[in-house]
Amino acid sequence: MSALTLSASPAHAGAPPAAEKPAAANEVSTPARPEKPQREPLRPKLRAAAKRVIPPVMGVALMLGIWAIVAMKASGIPSPLQTWDAAVTLFADPFYRNGPNDQGIGWNVLSSLQRVGIGFGFAALIGIPAGFLLGRFTFLTNMFDPIISLLRPVSPLAWLPIGLLVFQKADPAATWTIFICSIWPMILNTAQGVQRVPQDYMNVARVLNLSEWKIITKILFPAVLPYMLTGIRLSIGTAWLVIVAAEMLTGGVGIGFWVWDEWNNLKVEHIVIAIFVIGIVGLLLEQALLLLAKRFSYGNN
C-alpha cells in the first residue's frame, strides 16, 4: 500500500512546477527584491507536493491504526505487522510449484489473469461486432433489447453450472462466467458509440461520397473507439470481481481458489494479503486501461 502512494506521488508532484513557473518568473522580475532568485520558488513547490502527499498518507495511517486495534480486540485477525511478516516470506518465492494444489501466489494471480484474458477476449470477439450491428440497425436493437435487459442483471455465477455442464471441466467453466459478465458492457457500449457518431461526421462521409470501407475505417471505428474502451474497462473490472468468486467455487489454481484454500488452512494473514493483491491488480488494470483510453481520446471528446 505504501509503495502505491509513493508511486502515485511523483506523478502528481510533477504537475505543480509547471503551474508555479509564472509565479516564480514574477518574483524574479519584481524590482523590489532582485536577489535570491533561486531559493524562493522552492517553497511553494514543496508546499504543493505536501498537499498532495499528506492526505493519502493520513488515510493509510488511519486504516492501519483501525486494523491494529481490531486485531488486538478480535482473536484470529492478524495484526498489520504479522501480515507484513507473512507477506515478506510469501513474496520471497512467489513462483514455486509443489504439485497442482500448492503453487506460489504469483502463479495463482497469473492463472486468474489468464482466465480473465481468455474470457474477456472471446467476449470482445463476439461483443464488439455484435455491438456494431446493434448500433447500426434499429431492428436488431429492438430485437435483442428484451433479451439483454433480462440477462444483464443476472449474476454471472448463476451461469457457472451451465458452464460446468457444457464443458465438463472446472477451468473452462470459470472462463465461461468471465465471458458472460464481460460481454454485456462490450455490446452495450459499442452499440451506444455507434449510435452516437455525430451526424456531422456522417454528413462529411456523404458529401465526400466515401466508400463503405472508408466510412468504417476512417469514421465509424475511430468515433466508436472511446466507447469501446469504456466497455473494455467496465468488462475487465467486473471480470476481476467475478473471477475470485468463480474460482472459489471451481478450485484449481487461481487467486480466488487460493483465498479459499488458505481459509481451509486457517492462514488468515494470507487471506488479508490476498485482499491487497486482488485490490492492487484491479487498480493496475483500471489505470492501464484509463491510460489507453486517454491515448485515444481526441482532445475534445
Partner: protein, 264 residues
C-alpha cells in the same frame, strides 16, 4: 454569364414531425450562374440551412427539383462540396489527412499519390494553413479549423461550393480575416458559391447577389439584391462607398422592417 450552374425549380420542403407536417419552404425558384457568389440571408429558423442542404443533396425536396450542372440532384456528392458551420473536421485525422480524404476520393482513381499530396498541400497553402498541416484539429484555433474546412472543400475542385454560416462561430476579427481570405481564394478559382449567412456586411462584401428569405414557416424568397460593386473588393474602401451603404440599407430594411419577427 452562360447557362445556370444551379437551378432550384419550384421547390417545397416539408418535414414530418411529431406534431404533424411542418412546411419549412415553399415555391423556391432560383438560378445561380457559373462563377456566381450568392448569399442566403434571413432570420434564424427561416429555412436557409434547409435550402442549402437541398442543393447539397443531403435532403431531397418534397416538391420541385434541384438541378446542378444539368443533372438532377439525387444525393450528396463531391462536386457540391460543403463547408459546415462547425468545421466538421474529423478529430482523429490531422489537417493534412482531413483534406487528403476528400482529394483521394475525387482524384484518387486518376492520379498518383504524389500528385494527391501536392493537391492537398496546395489547398492548405491557399488558406495559409501549410504551417500547421500536421496538427490535429484540437491543436488549432476555431478560425484555423474553418480554414482547413474551406481547404478541404476547395481541394475537391467542386462545381459548386456550399457554405452554411462558415464564419458564424468566429469572433469579428477572425471572421474578417477569413472573409478576406475567401475573397482571395475566389479571385484565384472563380468558383460558384452559395453561402448562408446572418451577417449583412458579410453578405454584401462577398456576394454578387443576396437572396433574402421571408420568415418561416413556409418561407420563400422575399427579395433578391444585385450587388454590382467591382471585384476584388476591399473592406476598408467599401466602408464609405455609397453603393455599399445602399446595399446594406436595403438588406437591413428587408430584415428589420418587412420581416421583423413578430414573436421575438
Amino acid at each position: 454569364m452562360s447557362k445556370p450552374m444551379v437551378i432550384v425549380e419550384n421547390v417545397g420542403m416539408a418535414f414530418d414531425t411529431k406534431s404533424g407536417r411542418f412546411t419549412a419552404l415553399r415555391d423556391i425558384d432560383l438560378q445561380i450562374a457559373e462563377g456566381e457568389f450568392v448569399s442566403l440571408i434571413g432570420h434564424s429558423g427561416c429555412g436557409k440551412s434547409t435550402l442549402l442542404n437541398l442543393i447539397a443533396g443531403l435532403t431531397l425536396p418534397t416538391s420541385g427539383n434541384v438541378i446542378c450542372a444539368g443533372r438532377e440532384v439525387a444525393g450528396p456528392g463531391p462536386e457540391r462540396a460543403v463547408v459546415f458551420q462547425n468545421h466538421s473536421l474529423l478529430p482523429w485525422l490531422t489537417c493534412f489527412e482531413n483534406v487528403y480524404l476528400g482529394v483521394e476520393r475525387v482524384f484518387g482513381s486518376r492520379e498518383r499519390n504524389g500528385k494527391l499530396k501536392l493537391r492537398t498541400e496546395a489547398a492548405l497553402e491557399m488558406v495559409h494553413m501549410d504551417h500547421a498541416m500536421h496538427k490535429y484539429p484540437h491543436e488549432i484555433s476555431g478560425g484555423m479549423k474553418q480554414r482547413v474546412g474551406i481547404a478541404r472543400a476547395f481541394a475537391m475542385e467542386p462545381k459548386v461550393l456550399l457554405m452554411d454560416e462558415p464564419f458564424g462561430a468566429l469572433d469579428a476579427l477572425t471572421r474578417a480575416s477569413l472573409q478576406d481570405e475567401l475573397i482571395g481564394v475566389m479571385g484565384k478559382t472563380g468558383a460558384t458559391v452559395v453561402m448562408v449567412t446572418h451577417d449583412v456586411d458579410e453578405a454584401v462584401l462577398l456576394s454578387d447577389r443576396v437572396v433574402m428569405m421571408t420568415n418561416g414557416p413556409a418561407a420563400t424568397i422575399g427579395e433578391i439584391l444585385d450587388v454590382k460593386l467591382a471585384k476584388p473588393r476591399n473592406r476598408l474602401e467599401l466602408a464609405h462607398d455609397a453603393q455599399f451603404v445602399d446595399c446594406r440599407a436595403a438588406i437591413l430594411e428587408f430584415l428589420y422592417q418587412k420581416q421583423m419577427k413578430k414573436a421575438a
